[in-house]
């Protein structure tokens, strides 16, 4: 069994990184920017989804009963709703529960209590298909005792369209920055390989296998990936916390996921993506030089 010293490969990788320090720095800077942008877009989309859910805009309709409807009339409304097509779930929210929910979301209703509660009973309906929502809206309006059907379809569509727009920009950014990152990493590793071309040719003459020659460069790519992802993580953390403070002060209606909830997802996502990009850059740049 052949035994190789792992420190040899790691040492060679770091030697290469420092020998071409300018290109190594450029690779880290570009890959880090890529990761910050990817992370930013991902967190934006995640927060949009959380808020859509928060506001009940995802496949939900709220119907309000007449304020003077009796308990049996309210119950009949619930039964009638349950018989309609395209219904996934029906949840009855009493006027007291409705008030409580409002108080939880906004702290400006402290003086409202059960005696002066203006809210009627309501049903929160979760439907199955978006395409049939207009038909459902019509059918709900035909049920006696329903005062208002709030489908918020227009708002939901606007937010969904915004989300798709963000995704489109995100994909383009990802593609452009991804190509630029890989291109710069390829050149960094190529410089490293070029400066060691004599060494590589000697290795080849004495019978070194392709993986023995490649491993230091692959480690070099992985190190670029790890350094970029850790740096990107701290930058993302700083930017996210700044925006979080801004939003929490000025836009209290919006829910913002705390960074502590997504810390692991961001860090490991960045490291995974960074290492894959770094190693991919190394493998592409090595191809031609490693021909025996």
């Amino acid at each position: 069994m052949r035994r190789y010293n792992p420190f040899y490969f790691i040492g060679q990788a770091f030697e290469g990184l420092f020998r071409n320090s300018v290109m190594s720095f450029a690779s880290v800077a570009v890959l880090m920017s890529l990761l910050v942008v990817i992370g930013g877009f991902t967190l934006l989309v995640t927060n949009i989804d959380v808020n859509l859910e928060q506001f009940g805009l995802i496949n939900q309709i709220v119907v309000f009963c007449e304020p003077d409807a009796s308990e049996s009339e309210i119950e009949d409304i619930g039964i009638a709703i349950g018989k309609l097509d395209n219904i996934a779930k029906v949840e009855h929210v009493t006027k007291a529960e409705g008030l409580e929910q409002m108080k939880d979301q906004y702290d400006i209703y402290d003086d409202v209590d059960e005696n002066n509660n203006p809210l009627p009973d309501s049903y929160v309906i979760t439907y199955e298909e978006n395409e049939k929502v207009v038909e459902l809206d019509y059918q709900l309006k035909q049920i006696p005792g329903i005062a208002k059907v709030n489908n918020r379809l227009e708002l939901a569509t606007t937010i969904e369209n915004f989300k798709h727009g963000v995704m489109l920009v995100f994909v383009w950014f990802l593609a452009i920055l991804g190509v630029v990152s890989i291109f710069i990493i390829i050149n960094t590793i190529k410089l490293s390989v070029f400066s060691r071309r004599n060494e590589i040719s000697i290795m080849q003459y004495v019978g070194a296998t392709g993986w023995f020659i490649s491993l230091p460069y692959i480690i070099e790519g992985a190190v670029i990936g790890i350094v970029s992802s850790v740096a990107a993580y701290f930058i993302e953390w700083y930017i996210y916390s700044y925006i979080e403070r801004l939003v929490m002060t000025d836009l209290q209606m919006i829910t913002f996921l705390p960074f502590s909830d997504i810390r692991g997802f961001v860090l490991w996502g960045f490291i995974g993506l960074g290492v894959v990009t770094g190693v991919l850059g190394s493998v592409i740049s090595l191809g031609r030089y490693l021909k025996q």
């Binding site: 010293n5 290795m203 025996q292």
Partner: protein, 228 residues
């Protein structure tokens, strides 16, 4: 040991470097390959090192059929060879010991074996006291001896030397050639590509003369024939 059977080599630009070579070298032989520039000596070397593939014919070295050898097996084949170049090709930042040891590290030799073997090889090439010196601290002849020691590190069956005396003075050249003869005497097959008439004539070994991609003379105990 080494067999060239009607070996032809054409480069993509159309140059026909070898036009049908038939050559057999037995195990333990010493062969000078000579000829003018453009005769095909370098191409012959490249084929032996499997830097280039033959265009047609058959080339075998020991158990390896180089006409069929896959890229994956090339490193394993090269471990059977020791190569010495005109420009030494040493690592400037490694000591004499490290340069020789490197060839063994590359093929995964255990450290304990490296520590035992390297001084013994350095002794064979008369460099015992120089193992901690760097290449720039020793003479050209000594650098070539380090290259020779490195070529022997993995105990190859064949040693190929490409113009090994091209960059050193005549006295050192004789010393290098004497070492190659010594290596041959311990059972290694030695192939020396050279155009140095005096050396070839002095050692009176088998001489293969190449000209315009063909073997024009192959004689044991031969001389450098400048007329070919």
């Amino acid at each position: 040991m080494i067999d060239f059977v009607n070996v032809k080599k054409a480069y993509p630009n159309g140059t026909m470097a070898l036009k049908g070579i038939n050559l057999h070298i037995d195990e333990g032989e010493f062969v000078f390959v000579c000829g003018p520039s453009g005769a095909g000596k370098s191409t012959l070397m490249k084929l032996l090192l499997r830097e280039e593939r033959i265009t047609s014919g058959k080339l075998t070295v020991g158990e390896y059929d180089l006409s069929e050898l896959s890229e994956f097996k090339v490193p394993y084949y090269r471990r059977e060879l020791g190569v010495v170049f005109q420009d030494f090709r040493l690592f400037p930042k490694k000591t004499v010991f490290e340069n020789v040891a490197f060839a063994m590290e590359v093929v995964g030799t255990p450290r304990s074996k490296i520590v035992r073997r390297v001084p013994a090889i350095l002794n064979t090439v008369n460099l015992s006291g120089k193992q901690d010196s760097f290449p720039h601290e020793i003479s050209g002849g000594e650098q070539q001896r380090v290259a020779l020691a490195r070529a022997l590190a993995n105990n190859p069956k064949v040693v190929i030397a490409d113009e090994p005396t091209g960059n050193i003075d005549p006295k050192m050249s004789l010393e290098i050639m004497s070492l190659l003869i010594k290596i041959n005497k311990i059972g290694k097959t030695v192939i020396v590509v050279t155009h140095e008439k005096d050396l070839v004539d002095y050692y009176k070994q088998r001489v293969v003369m190449l000209n315009d991609g063909l073997i024009t003379e192959d004689r044991v105990g031969g001389m450098f024939n400048e007329e070919v």
